[in-house]
Every structure is written in C-alpha cells, then in structure tokens.
Symmetry: none
Subunit: 420 residues, 2 copies
C-alpha cells in the first residue's frame, strides 16, 4: 500500500539557476521555462525556481532548502573555466568530496577543441575535473560536463548555463535517466498549431468541445504573436489515455481544420519545407521590410537547400529595380509598399530564379516611415505560383521586431495554404 501511494504521489523537482548576471538583469533566465516544459511533459512537477548569486554560501543554502521540498534539484550555471564559476566547489562542499580528474569528461573536452583545430589549455583541462562520486554526463556541444548525483534517495543534476549545452544534456542524458529513476505517471500532450484566427474567436468556437472534455483531459490556449497553439493534456492509465487522446485530436482537428498548420513542435518553415519537398518544388523569396527574416526562417531548417533557391533583399528603392527589375515608375506611382510592387517582386524573383513558387514582402516595420494612408505596421505580401499570383495586406502593430517576425511567418503561411 505504501508503495502504491508513493507511485501515485507526483514527483517534485526544483530548479536552481546560478549567476549574478541573472540577478542584475543582464540575462533573462530562459533555461528554467525550457526545463519546466520538458519536465512537465514527462510528469514531473516543477515546484520552485530559484535564481541565486555566484557566492558558494548562497548556492549551498539554496540547494539544501530545495532538497527539503523536492525529489530532485536541477542546477544550471556556474561551470565555466574562470574564477567566478563556483558550482563545482559548492558541490564538493555539499558532498564533502574534492575535485577529481575525469578521463571520460576529458575526452569530450579534447574532442571539442580538436574539432576547432585548437589545443586544450590548462584552464580548459580543468573543465574535466568533477566532484568525486558523481556520474559524468557527456557534453558533446561544450566543454563543461554535466554531473549526476544520487543523495539520500534524491537526485541532483548540475548543467552548464549556456542554453544549447543545457538543452543537449537534458535531451540526451538527463530526461531518460529521470524517467527510469522515478516512477513517473503517464502524461500525454498533443498540440495543434493554428494560424489566422484569434484566441477569443477560437475559444468561442471550441466552447462546447471544451465543456465536454472527459475527466483527466484538459485544453489550454497558448497564444503568441501570429498564432495560437491548442494543447490537449491527459493523465491516467496509458491505454485509456491514448485512445481518448486520438479521438479528441480527430474532433479538434475537424473543428479547426481551416486554421491548422501543424502539430507539437512543428513550425511553419518546417511544415512548408516538407510540403515543397513532397511536391518536388522550389521556392524563392523577395524581401523588403522583412529584411532577410524569411530566408533566415527557411534556411534554419536542415536540408532546406533542396527547396530554397535564394532571395533578394531589396531594402532601398533602387535595389528593387536593380536586383529585381521592378519598374521604377511602378514604385513611383504606387509607392514601394503597395499591392502592385509586391506582386511585381514575387513575379520577378520567381522568374529570375526559375522556381516553382515565390513570396515577397513590402511594408512599414517602423518606428519611422509611417503615413496616414500607410501607418507603421502596414505590410503587403505577394505570393506567386505557376498558375496564379495574389497579394494580401496585413495591419500589424507598432513593435518593429514583432511586425517583421509575424509578416515573415504570414508569408510562409499564405503560400502553404495556397498549396493545399
């Protein structure tokens, strides 16, 4: 009976992030949210996040306190080779051990520098020293090893604070170990990604669906500029949860099908890339106000050279004419931010690069350049296909970076929908 109780009790984690730069606001702690998301997906509940200074006493205090409340403590930061990184010293003090050279960790350090054609300095050699008694977690993307400790039935993990190193360790070393160490409950998430509909309209549309969700199932709305994610979560007996989830996903998909573009970790650049690849099609882009962001998004997908031919970024009037052959008098007559110009841009880049399709943007990202007829946030998007060409106007807000981002993603969304 006591075993069953234990298995049902939710597993509690705490996160400690280390570094004065977090406290003085020089760096925003994005690690904790990312870790929180990963842990909740495997049924581990984050109870508290604590950010502390680089002082050993303070770190130690935070660790001791966290262990009174939680089953595991994940620590990030303070593992660099310099003097102000003191996490390892703190861990040695906590466990009453001292640093030992780990040949295993050194292999990663050595290979990291070898790949970059550099020698390992004495300072970096010390990255391979870890507190006695820990399990080294192999860091293939940096020089500070992760460390795993078991202590009075609880787990302590130390990872570097550099986000991509922490993520590598979580994904490759930590999550799997935590799942097998703890008896985690079964939790299933499924996220539907929508574009082109606001949160409140969506909520009205889904009111009935939501009110009839079976016990153990939840629906959450996660809005961000330009899109709304719908996350279905369920916990319970695995087989039952899987069947229920499949049924709900089918119903929800039907309800939002006009806006749905992907699932879970998809993004529009990956979804569009897969679609183009399946069609054997290529794409080109002609960017003005988005300044390269569409190209940046498309090429962030590995393998995108299979479908992406290239782009022109025509930030000045003359460049639109020189690079793309947009007639100067067309720009003169309608203005650079116009349906006519954006259609000409899309048509010309498609022809020039000989691709199947193309998208183009021209707008006023701000803060300057707005007029009463074309206020800041006005963006025209053009889409060219083998058999047709069309343009759409967006009215976005006055935040430059958000306007650029939403306009760029919208261009890809309009094309994807046109390929349906």
């Amino acid at each position: 009976v006591s075993f069953k109780k234990k298995a049902l009790k939710s597993i509690r984690a705490e996160i400690i992030t280390i570094g004065d730069e977090l406290l003085i606001g020089q760096v925003i702690d994005t690690n904790s949210a990312w870790i929180g998301k990963q842990l909740s997906q495997v049924g581990i509940q984050v109870h508290q996040i604590t950010s502390v200074s680089d002082e050993i006493g303070h770190m130690l205090d935070a660790l001791v306190n966290a262990l009174t409340r939680a089953d595991m403590v994940l620590v990030t930061g303070g593992l660099g080779p310099t003097k102000d990184d003191k996490t390892k010293e703190m861990l040695c003090a906590f466990f009453g051990t001292s640093l030992e050279f780990s040949p295993e960790a050194y292999l990663d350090v050595e290979s990291y520098f070898k790949k970059r054609g550099r020698e390992v300095s004495d300072l970096n050699r010390r990255q391979a020293e870890v507190p006695g008694g820990c399990t080294v977690l192999s860091n293939k993307v940096g020089t500070a090893p992760g460390m795993w400790f078991e202590h009075q039935g609880k787990i302590i993990v130390s990872m570097p604070g550099v986000p991509h190193e922490m993520k590598f360790l979580m994904e490759n070393e930590v999550i799997g170990r935590l799942k097998s160490h703890f008896h985690t409950p079964f939790i299933l998430h499924r996220t539907l990604l929508t574009h082109g509909i606001g949160e409140s309209v969506l909520a009205e549309k889904l009111e009935e669906f939501e009110s009839k969700l079976p016990l153990g199932f939840q629906l959450a709305y996660l809005p961000s500029p330009g899109l709304v994610k719908l996350r279905l979560s369920a916990t319970g007996e695995e087989a039952q949860v899987r069947v229920g989830m499949e049924e709900l996903e089918t119903r929800l998909t039907e309800l939002v099908k006009d806006y749905l573009f992907g699932y879970d970790d998809d993004d529009i650049q990956s979804v569009l890339g897969r679609r183009l690849k399946a069609l054997g099609w290529t794409i080109s882009t002609a960017e003005s106000c988005t300044g390269g962001t569409i190209g940046h998004l498309i090429t962030s997908v590995p393998g995108s050279s299979a479908w992406y031919a290239g782009s022109t970024i025509t930030y000045s009037y003359e460049s639109k004419t020189r690079l793309l052959g947009v007639p100067a008098d067309l720009i003169q007559k309608h203005g650079a931010v116009s349906e006519e110009v954006v259609l000409s841009m899309a048509r010309n880049v498609r022809e020039k690069l000989g691709t199947h399709c193309a998208v183009a943007t021209s707008g006023v990202a701000g803060p300057g350049g707005g007029t009463p007829e074309k206020p800041v946030g006005t963006v025209w998007i053009g889409v060219a296909l083998p058999d047709r060409i069309f343009a759409r106007k967006l009215q976005l807000g006055d935040n430059r970076l958000i306007t650029i981002r939403v306009a760029s993603e919208s261009a890809l969304h309009f094309l994807r929908k046109a390929l349906d």
Copy 2:
C-alpha cells in the same frame, strides 16, 4: 558607529514571482530581469529570485524565507480577478488582516473601464479590495493596484504580473519610494564586449589585471557563442567608485582593445550601423549559408534603411550565377564554399547595389554537405571595401543554428574592424 555600519551595508532585495505558468514553462519570467536591472541601477542588490506556484502556503513560505535574508521583497503576479490569483489572500494571512475596499484604488479601476467604454463588473470591483494597512500604489494602466507594506523595518511590495503594469508601477510608484526609504549604496556596472577571443585565452590575458582589482571591484566573464562579455562591477562611495571604474575601464579597454567592439547593451549590428551612419556609408550583403540572417540582424536595428541597400541570398549554385554573376566555372573549379567564390560574391554585390562596402558568406552549415576538406562548420566570409577586398575562413561547430548565427555576426565584426 552603528549608523555608519548600516549605511555601508548594501541594501538587499528579493523578488518573488507567482504563477504556475512560470513553473510549467508556458511563460518565461522576464519581469525579474527587468526589476533586477532597475534595482541595481539605484544601488539595491537583488539577492535572490524565487518563482513559486499559485498555492497560498507556498507563496507564504517563500515570503517568510525571503524576509529572513532581505531588506525588501518585491512580489509580482497572482493579482487577477479570477479564482487562481491568491496573492492578496496570502498577504492577508501574513499580516493577520482582511481585505478592505479602497475608494482610492477603485478610482483607478473605474477610470480604466470608463476609458474603454465599459461598466465595472462585480468581479472587477473586487480588484479595489486590498489588505488592511497597506498603502495603495496607483495603477493607471490596469485594474490591479500595487500595494506597499512596511513590516518590522522591511518593505514588501506587491505588483501585478503583467509586464507593462509592473513596469508602470516600478517607474512611477516603487523606485522613488525605495530610494527615499533606504539609504542606498552606490553601485556601478560597466560591460565590455569582445569578439574573436575565447573565454579561457581572455582569462589568461587578464589574470594579472583580475588579481590586482581594488577592494569592492569585481570582474565577471559572460561567454556566449561568438563573443565574451566582461563585466566590471563596483560598490562603495560614489565619487571613489566612479574614479576607480574609469581607471579600470581604461586599463581593461587597453588590454582587450584588439577584440573590443562595444559596451553594455550594444550589439554588433547596432555598433556597425552607427559606424556606417557616421561615415555616411552604405552596405550590401550576399549571403549563402547564412540564408538571410545577416540581413535579418542588420534590419533589426531601427533606421537601418539609412545604411542598408539590400542583399542577395544565393542558396543554390545557379542563383549565385543568375543573381550575382559569379562565374559558373569559378564555382565549378573551387567549389561554392571557397575563398574565390566568396570574394566574387562580395565584389559583385557591392558593384551591383552600388554600396560603399559589402560582406558575403558561403559555408557548410550542416548537418549534411560536409566533406573531408570542407567539414560541416566551414564558412568563408568575404569583405569588400572601396580600396580592398579580403576573405577569412572560420571553422565553427556542428550546430547548424549556432554556425549560422556566429558566421553572420562574424561577417559584421570583420567589416567593423576593417573600418577602424
């Protein structure tokens, strides 16, 4: 004597952010960093940031613990009109008081809804209830009032979690009150931004400098892919700190001058933009492996149309020839990822767009496309100026997104340095 001691002791704050959404990673806590920056600018040191759930017991625990360490505790979140917002209940429990209707707070609530042409609902009327004994802090941009408590010589402030409401309260109500309530010490930070040198080489170079830092001064290394920030911090008597900081900054600047590109919140795209603007110069770019990221960075700076003409993104072989006129046999002979091709790209885009200078990139971002001679992470960068042209080769790692980012920033760094 005792007074003097107290005046010299630094004032400690802690921040508590409330909300399950922070713990499950649905929302990144950006409030704490912003508050940390504001407080450290007025000489208040943030000792710890704690994020807790919406449970009253948990919040109470965090508040009690924070008060044992700090002179003031700033709490954000948990002040909405819905059931899961329980901060006021917690504060009542802590102070042993109950909620009282505040006519003063109600004026703000009423005027908020009036402006939007709406009536105040019963639910929203309750926003004007505050724990007895608190000072209401007027919130002109939302419906939840801020609250200021004095308790056994310490200060507790409660603010809404919505960033722009919290910021309004901090700027208009909190910071001024804190400055006059505490005898705050003077704190000064100065950050030097370096590129082109690793953390450990830098640390060796600065070992002597660091070991001879005067009392009250500290140096911290903040590395991220492609750059290392050096932060000098000092606390003490203002005039003395300013003189000492200026001297140290001059010495540190001299020691790292070959790598220094900016200070504090600068980034390379802003620094380069300011330099080009000062020169009255324009720039164009020709991107292959960086796929638009250089354009994306340049155009993230407001006003960049003054110096940025545009770009070609030539992701395919043919596009390099079609858009940029790179001779097909040059690509055939040397490969697209080569010094010859990247020089041709930089030269041609500069001429085509008639700009003063240009940068070009061509490389293997991976994961595919690597060869023994040109492994994944090989990137050539070309820089064209009115009187000269040069190329540099980088060997970056096997993380596609980091390679793209670091190559893009490096291109801007190489150009900036060439303009010195």
